[in-house]
Point group: C2
Chain length 480, copies 2
């Protein structure tokens, strides 16, 4: 068993408190905020912060409420931007797949047999001509259609993506954002290549793309190569991005899958190459779940006061509270921040009934990275009082430099998020995961699984926080 020590990358070391300029006029005790938050906290906070509704009457199905939907949309946009910047084009495919088409690739069909959902009749009782599978993922419809559209090497590589709902009725326990039966926001990319070498190169680019997204979001991850006996149905090689949550369970954050030519042969995805020979395409697919991304952000960045949201994806980056909450002060505050902080997603709390203390609690729980307080003194002196969501340091800054000071606090928050997340993930890994010097040997791995009550996650091929010497070891843990 390997003890894993945390090693935050140098580029992520957070700004120190002294990096925040402006006269600090108050500081709440950092120690009052506990980052050691467990499963009860997670389930309470996603309800109280109105991320999802957790009592929907279908097991494993959770509607997003407005605050959660806005967070999800910002994450979706981040993923889409990065996919498009690297040449992926959007598509929108239906969720209904004819059963006969779904059976075309045998391993895939058998792999999804236990969890795919069927629609076979109408509410009126009338049977459909053919039962329809609700997509557990979209290989089948996409490969069937592009097989008809691809004819020449000039069209390759072809990279497409979509974010859609998918259905996976697994028998295991469900949990909001973590284990769903209707996955609300699944982003899947599908790639058609001319050669094995091109597929390999794009496989590596996809791994880098996902690395970039989770590095940006300050989420620690381990990349594991899956055991050959536990691949995605129809795949020849899988890499999974995983993280470990404070309850010790492993969460799959994304996966990159080399499909070789198995689907191409099943669906007849062929093209005429430059040498005029007709060849089968080489295929990849990769997926990243927005729902699970949110679970990781919530749990790994949060503290005992509630969410702490990464400033780049927070629905509200700056909340403004007038003290006292008088209409005239609210209007003054609105005018001041409109000019000083026009580049940010700012929300002015214009409720004139609630106390400032109530509002502080409310917006801290929702993880708004920076709070602005405006009173008579601020309006008279053309200043704003800023408070960050991590150290709760209060400083009065001139309106003229407010945007710059907000940015500095956001950078402080980004750094703190990384430190918190690494602390949590490292501790959970140390306590609940196993890292062994083993090869891919099914017998040996299964012996470990049985003895320790864990699953074989795979061989470590990379990480943004583990020491280099972990690469090549076999990782075991309990999966969500």
């Amino acid at each position: 068993m390997g003890a894993l020590t945390s090693r935050p990358d140098a580029t992520y070391i957070s700004a120190r408190p002294s990096d925040v300029s402006g006269g600090i006029i108050a500081r709440q005790e950092y120690a009052k905020v506990d980052i050691n938050v467990g499963k009860d906290w997670f389930e309470r906070i996603i309800v109280e912060a109105e991320i999802v509704y957790t009592r929907y009457p279908v097991k494993g199905v959770y509607p997003y409420l407005p605050y959660g939907a806005k967070l999800a949309r910002n994450l979706e946009e981040l993923v889409h931007e990065r996919l498009e910047a690297s040449g992926h084009e959007p598509i929108v495919f239906p969720s209904l797949i004819p059963l006969s088409l779904f059976k075309r690739e045998v391993d895939f069909f058998e792999g999804f047999m236990p969890e795919a959902l069927l629609a076979s009749r109408k509410l009126s009782g009338e049977e459909l001509e053919e039962p329809l599978v609700l997509r557990p993922t979209s290989e089948v419809p996409i490969y069937h259609v592009f097989a008809q559209l691809i004819s020449s090497y000039r069209q390759l590589p072809l990279k497409v993506y979509q974010t859609v709902n998918v259905y996976r009725i697994e028998t295991r326990a469900t949990a909001p954002l973590l284990r769903l039966r209707e996955v609300t926001l699944f982003n899947e990319a599908h790639v058609f290549c001319r050669s094995e070498g091109e597929a390999r190169r794009i496989f590596e680019e996809a791994v880098e793309l996902y690395r970039g997204i989770y590095d940006h979001l300050r989420i620690p991850y381990v990349i594991v190569k899956s055991p050959p006996w536990d691949l995605f149905p129809g795949a020849v090689e899988n890499y999974d991005f995983i993280t470990v949550l404070p309850d010790g369970k492993v969460l799959e954050l994304a996966s990159v899958i080399n499909l070789g030519q198995k689907f191409a042969r099943a669906f007849k995805v062929r093209f005429q190459d430059v040498d005029e020979e007709v060849k089968y395409a080489w295929q990849l697919c990769y997926g990243i779940g927005i729902d699970r991304m949110i679970a990781a952000l919530v749990w790994l960045h949060g503290d005992s006061r509630g969410l702490v949201l990464h400033p780049d994806v927070a629905p509200i980056q700056v909340v403004v509270v007038a003290i006292p909450p008088e209409p005239e002060l609210v209007e003054g505050a609105r005018g001041a921040v409109a000019s000083a902080l026009s580049g940010y997603r700012v929300h002015v709390d214009d409720d004139t009934q609630r106390t400032p203390g109530w509002k502080f609690y409310y917006w801290e729980q929702r993880g708004v990275p920076v709070r602005v307080e405006v009173g008579r003194r601020e309006l008279a002196s053309s200043t704003l009082t800023l408070v960050d969501r991590v150290r709760f340091e209060k400083a009065r800054v001139p309106l003229s430099s407010a945007a710059e000071e907000v940015e500095r606090r956001m950078e402080l928050v980004r750094g703190a998020l990384w430190e918190r997340a690494v602390t949590k993930v490292s501790e959970a890994l140390r306590k609940r995961a196993l890292l062994l010097d083993l090869d891919f040997d099914r017998g040996e791995c299964e012996a470990v699984e049985e003895e320790r009550g864990v699953s074989t996650l795979g061989k470590v091929v990379g990480s943004n926080f583990l020491p280099e010497e972990c690469v090549g070891k076999m990782l075991f843990g309990k999966k969500y």
Copy 2:
């Protein structure tokens, strides 16, 4: 029967050819472009321009290909922006609805009985504990959840929206973009109000919001109030936005629905009012289909050469073709437009094999509003040659004023789109619709339906192109 004359609003009169400055160096005959395009054209062009794939093996189900998906996304963003600007908040709700919950509002249940789809078992054959309805629209899950979350008048009015896939397995014929069984991109808004008066006010705001969207897109519409015997299931009043396609069939573009308190009573959506009494909410829902919006844009704006896309939503606003297609000229063109047209969605066609003529045809068919041609002469003289997609007027303009000249041509295109669409819709209405002086009298309307083989669409309450005197008349036609 009323003869309908077209009356384009003065604000929509297009720029005249002489409004486009720059020395016009060539002009193709406008007469060569026929705008009288029929159903065969529509079905061919959505395939050739790669909007959707039309041979998917489930009836009424059509995947969006990349070009179509980009157009759809731009339209979705337009709708979302307008909804958010008027206080609607996003949500993301699941498609799975327990059958028992779906039965809660009786009229709704019976109304959707013939077309809703059920999922009741897994691919493995295992039956679910309870059959799940696939949403035909999301009243049921949304009202059930918000009934639990709404408690006070302070939360009202509450306006939420989402764009999702919905399922409607109607028995009637299907057609790509027009009549779908899985509607890929259905935008639905749901509103909870404190009083009947508030609901009435927001009903009118929703009508204005949809008016604004279709006015902006240059789509002629008629707003009809539905016959009381043909309302949305569970509704007390409906307004439908309709247009008439060149084949004479009526397409519903959007609808605004007053639900009164029927759903509030069925789902117990209650709140404590300022007088401390507990009251039922008043509800509205309104929906706008992105798929049908695309159908209208394609068919009403297109011409015999293919699509003509509204510049504000076109995936590519400006396409750049190097003549001859040599790598060096392509690079020169890329540099020139990168600085001169940085504010636009520009695509540089960097294929060096195809002829300019082939490319002109290709991009005209895809409806790109403005083409830029770059040759040695343009590079040497710091000019660009611009060609618009409507009149095909070719003019050489200095790089320094290129952005302004492109904008002028886009305005020319916008104006032409409106003129074309009004011509097409007016003609179709004149030939295939009936406008009668009738009241809502079921017997009389059914007599007209039977005699003329049409449906009662409803009473005209507004339009962006019909003369004022049509308001109050009863409209009949054949529906898609």
